[in-house]
């Protein structure tokens, strides 16, 4: 990204080709239509070009890119319909149950799992996807979502618990 800021314009297409598939997959999990996903990814990379001067030395490109993509996808969803952000799980999940939840959930069928994740409220969905599908650290996820490390970890725990509940009884939006 620093190379692009210094005027190496050949870098931008390389960045688009490198990250397109990952960003498209992530956005698709929210909007669930190929046309909308492609539009949002296009808008994301247009914003990367427009706001390239806001990328400061020392920042990491991937979380910055995901942050733009995430916010663009959420803006799209909010225009389409107001998001329901209620959560039904109390924040009493202990840290040591996270590993047990992850293992239990991993055994579920792929399609049921995908449907269950895509039915989660967007803030849980984002954390789970960024952690498990995109492989970001909790710190990086915090950068993407603009939240503290503790909040991200809490959202992850609660998201997994809600996901487990949805898999057992069916999606509850």
């Amino acid at each position: 990204m620093e190379a692009y800021q210094k005027g190496d314009s050949a870098v931008l297409p390389l960045l688009i080709r490198r990250y397109f598939d990952a960003i498209y997959r992530y956005v698709y999990r929210f909007v669930r239509t190929p046309a909308a996903a492609e539009d949002i990814v296009q808008e994301t990379f247009i914003k990367v070009w427009k706001y390239s001067t806001r990328f400061k030395a020392g920042m990491t490109f991937k979380p910055w890119l995901y942050r733009i993509a995430h916010n663009t996808a959420i803006d799209y969803l909010r225009k389409k319909q107001p998001l329901s952000l209620e959560d039904t799980v109390e924040d009493t999940i202990a840290d040591d149950t996270v590993a047990l939840l992850e293992q239990s959930i991993a055994r579920e069928e792929q399609e049921r799992l995908t449907a269950a994740i895509e039915s989660l409220p967007e803030h849980y969905r984002a954390v789970i996807l960024l952690r498990n599908e995109e492989g970001l650290t909790f710190e990086a996820i915090g950068e993407v979502l603009g939240k503290s490390l503790n909040t991200v970890k809490s959202l992850y725990r609660r998201g997994l618990a809600l996901l487990k509940k949805n898999l057992e009884v069916g999606p509850q939006e």
Binding site: G7, S9, A10, L12, P13, I16, R17, F20, D21, Y24, R25, Y28, R29, P34, E38, V41, Q42, F45, I46, W49, E102, I105, A106, Q110, E111, L113, T114, I117, I128, N132, E133, G135, T137
Partner: protein
Amino acid sequence: MNKTPLLRLSPVPVPAGAAERVIAVVEARQKTSRLWRIRLAVSTGIVSLGGLVPVGISLVRDIASSHAGAYLSLVFSDTSIALSYWKEIGASLLESVPFLALTGTLALLGLLLWSLRLAARSIATPLVITNA
């Protein structure tokens, strides 16, 4: 740090050629933006240059007709008097300078320099290079 995805979700098929389409759109936006910047720079440059000539002439005429010219020539011709009476000469100079014309000239000069800078940066910035 990355790890193997724990939750194996249904794969998302990425439309073929989508990345290249996005690159083409970004390139088109860059071209359009660059053209608008060049147009803005050229039109601002023309306006500022067009305004600079009469305002500059007016400034020179005003300085020549005001006492500022006399004080300035005194300062450069007899520096010892200028140093002895620097306060009085300074105050008189300030009173006689045509501030309005001077401000206008400096503002238009600044606008011209800005437009030249914008034009230079817009022309120098290369567009996205796509591999055909």
